[in-house]
Amino acid sequence: MNQLHHILHVDMDAFFASVEQLDQPELRGKPVLVGTRPEERGVVAAASYEARKFGCRSAMPMGAAMRLCPEAVVVPPRGKRYAEVSAQVFQILVQFTPLVEPLSIDEAFLDVTGSVRLFGQPEEIAREVKRRIQAETELTASVGVAPNKFLAKLASDLDKPDGLMVVPQDGIQAFLDPLPISRLWGVGKATLPRFEELGIRTFADTRRLSEAVLRDRFGEAGGQFYRLIRGIDDREVVPDTEAKSISQEVTFPVDVDDHEHLRGVLLGQTDQVARRLRRHGLLARTVTLKIRSGDFKTITRSRTIEVGTDETQTIWVAVTALFNEWSSQQPPAVRLIGVGVSQLSNGAGQQLSLFGQEESFRHRQLDQAIDKIRDKFGDGAIGRGGVRGKDAGDV
């Protein structure tokens, strides 16, 4: 890594337990253990912060956790629900950068180096990520901001829950030095005593050891320790080979209740989303319409298409159908509106269709022509007529 990078580590706070407290308000403020009951030799999948005060931790046998905190409420895990909320969170993350590397259902690295011009300084981005997650899921996340993955993860771990910790390039050493050596990536039950034998407790202590000594003691890992202790980590953020979704949304300065205006906005967003699909050679099967009303209630409505598509027209037909459904129910004025696509694939293994080949071919030619003009003259050079949009709604 030559250039200075800005990496975010986003970590949902006590994720499973927080989702349970969100869905079951009577659990809020109480120690909650998510997992199977001790009779079933269960382990703790997640412990709420209230339970952590008693020493309960995830991966602990449920029986042990309940001895530490007998009043804890044990809740069976609901994987499907967690996946649903997780998808919501990732949908937010990918809007800040395409470089999102999921670590698990509730944790991800983001490389926002290229997003600074769009969204502001990394710290601002982190704040906005936290705000959006809170606003859209009512859950909190802790975010670490640093020049690399190792430091970003350390930072988010140190300020939890609902934390935001920034490690600036020139503050790396000051940040690391006081930390206990157990925080070093790769140091566990087996390695910790071997550091202690050397009289080492903190990162600062370790820094006195030469690379040769560390390698001698710990082999290959020693070299890695040597670099990590100095805050050097050049692992890149690798996004999921397949992006999970592509979306485009806009927040209006004032609430909008003119549906024709909203249609126009949606058409533009549909166009953008489809173009991004084409640029990445992806096909989408699910189209989602997202609308937030002035009272901050957010609804999302999805429709799945039989075969994946990257055609503006096909996506627009789905968006229009979703919008018409929504608008037929005397909805409130709109604060935010957006179009998203998901269930993406690169087209391999795509089931082809018997009918509509001709029509599809014409849409494709139109899309390609417009894309070409835009690539050459810029996005403003050509747009889809509102009339076409209206007509499309009747298809």
Partner: protein
């Protein structure tokens, strides 16, 4: 009304009839079957307003003619659970009494005048076809019917009659099955109608183990089929069936003859290493053989080689294995011909001149 009826014969008819009647309906009369006793026969009718069934139970002794509506599920359960050879069914004040040697059921009935008409096939049928042929035409197409497709007209099987030639077609937009057969008797002229999937299922039950002839009425708003003592009538799927002839490839220039059994086995084995993300099985046609291969990310790969007389240029095409198997299961011939042109173009499976199946590929990476 009072009848003594053979329990097995009654149960057989009721099982089919209650399959139509017991659907989720708010109208109580539609949850019923109609029993009508006349001289020498007991007529059972059921309908959901789309499909209607009437059948006469002949193993019956009618003591007193009459008419009643009885909840289909209860009467069916009684007929099935009873242990007697015959049951006596009587009606008094809209209560149906079913009596066996040691049993007496009272089931509250409904006014038979409330029941919608259940048509019979009157006059000359438009076609008479061997039950065996009708079964084949249905079995070779019904599997390809679309399920709740927004293109409404393909949620049924197209029945076409051209003089004595019957042609059934079904498609779900990704594959298309066409079966052809000859009628024994038929009025001259052309006719066509789209028969709903549900009606097709009822016909399959009615025709099962049947023999002899089936009489068919083609009309603009309903289809009526009479056979095995049953009369099935049904509304049609409205709309225009797609011009299927257009999607049948005319320029497939490569062909291979395969043993049906060996092909089924090869596809089934290749399908073992497919999954949700990579559903396709790759068919690679090369000199004198067909190689089927598949790959499931993070699980593994499969390759199956079949010796086959093929002399064309090499072609690779991917298919959903289930689409291939669906057709191979119903061809009914020891060998099939597979015809294709190139990657990402439709393949065609043929069994003689009677069955043809167009299947769209899955695109290969």
């Amino acid at each position: 009304m009072q009848v003594i009826v053979n329990r097995n014969a009654l149960a057989d008819v009721l099982v089919v009839a209650s399959g139509i009647a017991s659907a989720r309906t708010t109208k109580d009369v539609l949850k019923c079957v109609r029993l009508t006793a006349t001289e020498g026969e007991l007529l059972i009718g059921s309908t959901d307003l789309e499909v209607a069934l009437r059948c006469s139970v002949r193993q019956v002794e009618v003591r007193k003619p009459g008419d009643i509506l009885v909840p289909a599920d209860k009467l069916t359960q009684i007929a099935r659970e009873s242990v007697d050879e015959t049951l006596t069914i009587g009606v008094e004040d809209q209560v149906c009494h079913v009596r066996g040697v040691d049993s007496h059921f009272e089931v509250y009935g409904q006014d038979p005048n409330e029941f919608p008409p259940v048509p019979d096939l009157e006059g000359e049928p438009d076609a008479e076809v061997a039950v065996e042929v009708l079964c084949r035409l249905i079995d070779q197409t019904s599997f390809a019917v679309a399920k709740e497709n927004t293109r409404y007209a393909i949620n049924g099987v197209l029945w076409e009659k051209k003089n004595k030639r019957l042609c059934f077609v079904a498609t779900d937009g990704r594959r298309l099955a066409r079966a052809v057969g000859a009628a024994e008797q038929a009025g001259s002229g052309d006719a066509s109608m789209i028969v709903p999937a549900k009606t097709i299922h009822v016909l399959q039950r009615v025709l099962a183990n049947g023999e002899g002839q089936a009489a068919i009425r083609f009309s603009d708003n309903q289809v009526i089929v009479k056979c095995n003592g049953y009369v099935v009538s049904s509304a049609l799927v409205e709309g225009q069936f797609p011009n299927y002839d257009e999607v049948i490839p005319k320029d497939n220039d490569k062909s291979i003859e395969l043993s049906t059994e060996a092909f089924i086995s090869a596809v089934r084995r290749a399908a073992l290493l497919t999954n949700e993300q990579s559903k396709g099985v790759r068919l690679s046609f090369t000199q004198d053989k067909l190689v089927l291969s598949s790959r499931a990310p993070e699980q593994g790969e499969a390759t199956i080689s079949m010796r086959a007389g093929y002399g064309g240029e090499n072609v690779d095409i991917g298919f959903n294995p289930n689409f291939i198997l669906d057709a191979l299961r119903v061809v009914g011939t020891p060998t099939v011909n597979f015809e294709m042109k190139e990657t990402n173009r439709p393949g065609v499976l043929k069994a003689g001149s009677e069955f043809m199946y167009v299947v769209m590929p899955v695109s290969l990476a």
